[in-house]
């Protein structure tokens, strides 16, 4: 059973779609059980109906009309392969099966341009006509762009999909006109046991007396229909509705959107105007991608890589481009997207500003203060501040802006060339002369903006100031990915809190990820609390952190706290953390409530939580250097932490309260990258702690210093 590809273009295997289609029963090309793929390039005229029904005699299982990736449209007219439609019959295209033949028909990635001309027929695209109650006939119509249809006085069902287990997904259909007094439908699904997902339909209009115009028409009374994440807006006429259909108990729909109040199912969105959703509704330059902060953004349901209907998975990669790929071929699943409604999965534009002498901003505070400037940022943007050099924080730096302008994420980081190597003075460095309680706060109590801080060295210079000088991570008391905080790959050291209580990194929020940080030399004489890292709320992850030398009464290198003393929600998940060398009366390397799910942590005492813990290891046996002033907490050869960690992959899902996934690359440097930016996925086994020891590095030639290292060496 082979997949046989043929090109359809001038100079290709076939010059027309019809010729390719006619040859589908050619036994010199195809064998029983094969999949036939026709790859269309260039522009083609469809002047007469194409009947896509061959291949059953030779025994093909799938026939797929598609477009090579390099030639696919970008969701707008004229950008890919265009079929110019000028048929005068009722159908311009019909994908069907003769009686007794079971071949799955797939039509994808084509632009169907009707040229706003009444050719005299109804001009339907019919996929899966003739019904069929077997998965072996299940049709697919996906990633197509259909537009500018003038039905004249004829009825219109511009895209009509039938057949059990049909899948209609990720299509864009716009501008359909009819003067029929009967009806005009944009997209119509005629069958039970089907999936209609992530389609965008706009501007279906009739002017016929008594006619009803429907953007999306679902004949769901037959049951078992799955209808998710579809947009239908801008339907107009004497009797117009964006949606129409009857839902039965076995039909499931949710996360659909309309400009009127007809979008069905749960989590529906009503009352959204096209102008508020789409980049452009201007005739001739239509672009139905989503604007920043459109109501459809993030409002969809996660469908995974297929839709299961009546026991069968459809809209999957088995037949063609799967449902998780949007109109731009972006993989919503691989990119960890929160699904949008409609064919487009919006990608947050990244606006990067430099923070350094001579840069866009000269201080982190100035950058942070400008996060709601609408002349810089648009709704839905991601703001990245790349910080280089040394910066002194004279007052608390509050990273809480961006909610007004509608940012989805703010990220402060160091450019790759200026990142530390896990030791003091080797990269971007912040010091503090603040006397406040906190020197750095990531928070927002109202809007949902994701926060990331990474690759910064926080040097507290072993100087007592009057405040506690915490790194304070809070997003207010609300859950959800929109408020997620990511604090990673930072180097924090030499904190002397004097007699004040101290929690050097305090994560008082749901949904955060603290990973791959190094914390050392924290001291206080307070009898209240002394913590290196304090994880305060649930739905959070701490992984691969290294904490050393936290001292004080009842001190803990890493402390886990749950708001619910019953322990019911104490799911601060903790993996692969090192906490050693904690000292002081009543102190312990790890403290607080045991993390709900934890393993492979390491301590010098017996307090490491969870399974596969490593205990009784001294700092001297673990680290390259614990010498004051030359601390290097990379793992030395033979350290017990080597190979003793658990493989966390490239992300982590905190499984309680909605399955929030944290630590992945969408929020910055992912959790599989260590303090040297080495990808642990390249290693055989994960180490415990922030460093993944790479044996070859011990004998490697010195690498070129980054710009900051050069400057520091010159001190």
């Amino acid at each position: 059973m082979a997949t046989v590809e043929k090109t359809i273009k001038t100079g290709g295997d076939y010059s027309t779609i019809a010729a390719w289609e006619e040859d589908l029963d050619e036994s010199s090309i195809y064998s029983s059980g094969d999949t036939a793929v026709g790859l269309v390039s260039g522009d083609h005229e469809i002047g007469t109906k194409i009947t896509f029904n061959s291949g059953g005699t030779v025994g093909l299982v799938i026939t797929r009309l598609s477009v090579p990736e390099a030639d696919r449209h970008d969701g707008t007219a004229g950008s890919g392969v265009t079929l110019t439609i000028s048929t005068s019959s009722n159908y311009c295209f019909e994908a069907t099966n003769p009686s007794g033949e079971d071949v799955r028909r797939v039509v994808e990635w084509l632009e169907w341009d009707y040229e706003d001309t009444d050719h005299g027929g109804d001009e339907w695209i019919s996929v899966g006509s003739g019904g069929g109650s077997t998965i072996d006939r299940a049709p697919v119509f996906s990633h197509n762009l259909v537009h500018d249809v003038d039905c004249g006085s004829n009825i219109g069902r511009i895209v009509q999909v039938g057949g059990w287990w049909s899948a209609t997904h990720n299509n864009i259909l716009y501008t359909v006109r009819s003067t029929s007094s009967a009806y005009c439908h944009g997209l119509q699904c005629n069958e039970r046991i089907s999936a209609v997902a992530n389609n965008t339909v706009y501007d279906v209009a009739t002017t016929g007396s008594g006619a009803n115009a429907r953007g999306l028409k679902i004949n769901s009374e037959l049951g078992y229909l799955r209808c998710f994440n579809n947009i239908s807006v801008g339907t107009a006429g004497t009797s117009a509705a964006d949606w129409d259909g009857t839902w039965t108990g076995s039909t499931i729909g949710a996360n659909n959107l309309s400009s009127d109040s007809t979008a069905p199912g749960g989590d529906e969105v009503h009352g959204e105007a096209a102008a508020d959703l789409f980049v452009s509704t201007s005739g001739g330059s239509e672009d139905l991608h989503l604007k920043g902060c459109a109501a459809a953004v993030g409002a969809g349901a996660d469908l995974g890589t297929s839709v299961t209907v009546y026991g069968n998975a459809i809209a999957s990669s088995t037949t063609g481009t799967a449902v998780n790929f949007d109109i731009d071929n972006r993989d919503r699943v691989a990119e960890w997207d929160t699904w949008d409604i409609g064919a487009d999965q919006r990608v947050s534009p990244i606006v990067t500003k430099t923070i350094k002498s001579g840069g866009d901003y000269t201080s982190p505070s100035a950058w942070a203060a400008d996060l709601d400037d609408s002349s810089i940022y648009g709704c839905g943007d991601t703001a990245v501040g790349e910080c280089s050099g040394e910066h002194e924080l004279t007052t608390e730096l509050i990273l809480n802006g961006g909610g007004t302008v509608g940012l989805v994420q703010t990220r402060i980081t160091a450019p790759t060339a200026d990142r530390h190597d896990g030791t003091a003075g080797s990269g971007t460095r912040w010091t503090s002369s603040s006397t406040g309680t906190k020197i750095f706060r990531m928070s927002h109590s109202v809007a949902s903006v994701q926060r990331t801080c990474e690759w910064i060295e926080f040097d507290f210079e072993d100087t007592v100031r009057s405040g506690d000088e915490w790194i304070y991570i809070t997003q207010g008391l609300a859950e959800g990915t929109g408020r997620l905080c990511n604090f990673s790959h930072n180097l924090l050291h030499d904190m002397d809190a004097g007699s004040s209580p101290c929690r050097l990194v305090w994560a008082e929020t749901y949904c955060n990820a603290l990973h791959n940080n190094i914390v050392y030399n924290v001291t206080s004489t307070s009898t209240n609390f002394v913590y290196g890292i304090n994880h305060y709320f649930y739905n959070s992850l701490s992984s691969n952190n290294t904490v050393y030398n936290v001292s004080g009464p009842d001190a803990n290198g890493i402390y886990y706290y749950s708001r619910f003393s019953s322990g019911a929600y104490d799911n601060n998940d903790a993996y692969n953390n090192i906490s050693v060398g904690t000292s002081g009366t009543g102190s312990a390397d790890f403290g607080g409530y045991a993390a709900n799910r934890s393993s492979n942590n390491l301590s010098s005492d017996s307090s490491a939580p969870g399974s596969d813990a490593v205990t009784g290891e001294s700092a001297a046996d673990l680290f390259v250097s614990t010498s004051a002033g030359s601390e290097d907490l990379h793992l030395k050869s033979g350290a017990a932490a080597i190979g003793a960690g658990v493989d966390l992959g490239t992300s982590y899902t905190v499984d309680v309260h909605g399955g929030i996934t944290v630590g992945m690359s969408r929020f910055g440097t992912a959790l599989n990258f260590d303090i040297d930016n080495y990808d642990r996925e390249d290693a055989d086994d994960w180490d415990i702690g922030a460093d993944q020891r790479v044996a070859a590095a011990a004998s490697a030639l010195p690498v070129a210093m980054n710009t900051y290292q050069q400057m520091m060496r010159g001190r």
């Binding site: 100079g11 102008a275 980049v279």
Partner: protein
């Protein structure tokens, strides 16, 4: 009119293909249009270091003749010109009376990301074309092509069939005959001589309405036509072409 027809029967089911069935019928008009589109395909024009498409007059001229509008950015607004009439309107983020709006910065930024974009820089302004142009004057299109390239319309009168098509199908051509003289067959007539046979309800009853009884046509070698291991093109030139009515007949169910 160039014809592609079947040279074997799939099965007894009339909804599958039968020997002689017309698969495609291409008019000279369609052949010329296709050639023009291929010559002026924007993918064949480079993207400059600036990221914009090269405003080659061949390409720009083609787009100007085949699109309804020219769009030019002016800050956060867009000037839309209807090419045929010169009428101008302005678009922006606030919907106009027709409900049209555009976020031009996002629109352009998205286009420029795609290798198939058609955004030019004209006097410092981003410029593009769009919208359906009805009644395209293909003579003007070819004037533009012949002015800005070495391609000649007269060289593109015969459909360029592929090697596989020449092996697996029959290929021939025909002429019209009116008032005692040969003539080219119109596109409308070509369209009428292809496609399925449908009943009064519009349901297909036979895969192809028309057939070429090539085995009875002297200018077509039957054996060569049926040999799928050999390329064969039976097209003739001038009046050596068969007449349409002698070549193509309605199929029987």
């Amino acid at each position: 009119m160039d014809l592609l027809f079947r040279t074997s029967t799939v099965s007894a089911d009339p909804l599958t293909g039968s020997d002689g069935d017309v698969v495609c019928a291409m008019s000279c008009e369609q052949t010329e249009r296709t050639a023009a589109r291929n010559i002026c395909d924007h993918h064949g024009f480079q993207i400059l270091a600036s990221g914009y498409r090269d405003a080659d007059p061949l390409l720009v001229g083609f787009l100007g003749e085949t699109n309804k509008y020219r769009f030019q950015r002016d800050g956060d607004r867009v000037e839309r010109t209807e090419i045929a009439t010169g009428a101008v309107d302005w678009l922006g983020s606030t919907p106009n009376d027709a409900g049209e709006s555009i976020d031009v910065e996002q629109y352009i930024e998205r286009r420029l990301r795609h290798s198939g974009h058609r955004i030019f820089l004209d006097a410092g302004r981003e410029t593009w074309y769009g919208g359906t142009r009805k009644n395209i004057d293909w003579s003007e299109v070819w004037n533009n092509i012949e002015t800005h390239s070495d391609h000649r319309r007269a060289s593109f009168q015969d459909w360029e069939f592929s090697a596989l098509e020449r092996q697996h199908f029959g290929i021939c051509n025909c002429r019209g005959f009116r008032n005692g003289e040969s003539c080219e067959i119109s596109h409308v007539t070509c369209v009428e001589h292809s496609g399925p046979l449908v009943d009064e309800a519009g349901e297909m009853i036979r895969k192809a309405r028309w057939t070429v009884p090539y085995w009875d046509i002297s200018s077509i070698d039957t054996d060569q036509t049926r040999n799928k291991n050999q390329e064969y093109d039976a097209r003739q030139v001038g009046d050596d072409r068969e007449k349409l009515d002698d070549l193509v007949i309605e199929a029987t169910v």
